[in-house]
Subunit: 249 residues, 2 copies
DNA sequence: TCAACGAGAATTACATACACTTTCTTCTAT
DNA sequence: ATAGAAGAAAGTGTATGTAATTCTCGTTGA
């Protein structure tokens, strides 16, 4: 599909992020890319896009440049922007990279120690996970709940690492588009149980100020997602519960 | 200093990179930041900057946005761009991150194997280093020569990893501004000797298809630079030969 | 004394017109 | 027919004017 994606289940400026059209436009374009409304490798036409979004070319160009900075678009002088392609191999690699980076984050956290706020968030996420997993199986919707719990844990830990570059790089890894909806990792109850157990151990390692152990545990923790993805890519067995890989890693 | 840096040892459009003023402007601003012509934390005034560079605000804004994407500037809506600050701790951390990333690159290279072109470059760099180090000491200028040899080795290896995201992240690590000229690492003959020896071992590990070993070796190889930086920050002993850390890591 | 307010200045955000480059089309010569 | 060139069409790059927002600083009132 071309960049004629429908810009309006909402009024043009209704969603606008904090008084800045460029940012709003940026979100819309990103969304369109991640949705697959505009397909990979496709060249983006500024005038058409600006007409669809009902703004001038100026904020559109700004948004495109920002998205290129995020790595979602490629830019060629005098030729404009094209949607970057992410082959399966790149998606798989991203997990390795993320594993290494989150490992470093865990190490930093163990070296620097947790702030009271971060520790509180982590302990809450651990407790929430415990109670969710307590009854030994998943109801519908539980996986979505755990996704948030998981997110809290990883975010708090990343905050504890207190390094912006690291945070940004990990964010980039998270934002790799999953090209096809088939690239999902199947997580069942016992998988999540194991992953939550990992969280406990990582937390313990950080509390005990064991940087190396924390790093290794986290690295393994994330690497497993990659392994699962590779497995599901080769097997392609459709089990009941599925979740986007990035969301539960 | 404000953003009134002198834009012209050259004529305004003389250096322009490939028919695109934005890119040329971008280079100039980046240079000014890395030079320290504009100091960290400083807010950038678009109109003044565009007057100094003798272009309109449009390409200036484009350049600023792109530089924000590179991580050199911070952007706040309706407030513009400010030069991002890189405290010492961030610079030190960048080496840890880079160590982890280059470690992954080495592993990928070992897993995927070297292309004939990459292998040739690496072997050439190893041979060149051997002959340079042969006479057991450094003449003036030798360190500069080795800097290039070192660069070739790391670049070829990164190419062998064949992953763009990884390459970009490592590039970002390299581009962290060294805030002060005092943040340099002292490398003497025997340090370089050891580092070159590392290169040989890493190459062997890759050739032998030993991913894990290649990763560990590379990681240690880069980590040492961080350790040296930390050491030189505490000691501050000025030895004869000095080189920018990033250049010989 | 100091916080809150507000008018004017400064600065960024956006729209639009025009210039330049690329790309597509078509015509010509071989 | 086909390669190549010329011209038209489309698309990106830049300049500039205007709107909207933030900043500055003096004033007011408690």
């Amino acid at each position: 599909m071309s960049d004629t994606f429908d810009p309006a289940p909402f009024a043009p400026a209704a969603v606008s992020r904090a008084g800045n059209r460029s940012l709003s436009v940026m979100d819309q374009i990103r969304e369109a890319i991640l949705n697959g409304s505009v397909s990979a490798g496709e060249r983006i036409n500024e005038v058409r896009l600006s007409k669809n979004l009902d703004v001038s070319r100026t904020p559109v160009r700004a948004a495109l440049q920002a998205l290129a900075g995020e790595g979602l678009l490629d830019y060629s002088p005098n030729r404009g922007f094209i949607v970057r392609e992410f082959p399966i191999s790149a998606i798989v690699d991203a997990y390795e990279i993320r594993a290494a980076l989150e490992g470093v984050a865990a190490r930093f956290a163990a070296e620097r120690g947790l702030g009271s706020e971060e520790r509180a968030v982590i302990e809450r996420s651990l407790a929430a996970g415990d109670s969710l997993l307590e009854r030994g199986r998943f109801e519908s919707g539980d996986l979505t709940i755990y996704r948030d719990i998981n997110g809290d844990f990883h975010e708090a830990l990343l905050a504890a690492a207190s390094n912006r570059m690291l945070a940004e790089m990990i964010r980039i890894c998270h934002h790799v588009p999953v090209s096809s909806s088939r690239n999902i990792v199947v997580f069942q109850y016992h998988d999540v149980r194991r992953r939550h157990d990992d969280h406990h151990r990582i937390f313990e390692a950080i509390q005990a100020r064991e940087p190396h152990r924390a790093e290794m545990l986290m690295r393994e923790h994330v690497s497993v997602v990659k392994a699962s993805l590779v497995k599901s890519l080769t097997e392609r067995s459709d089990t009941t519960m599925a979740l986007r890989d990035a969301d539960v890693g």
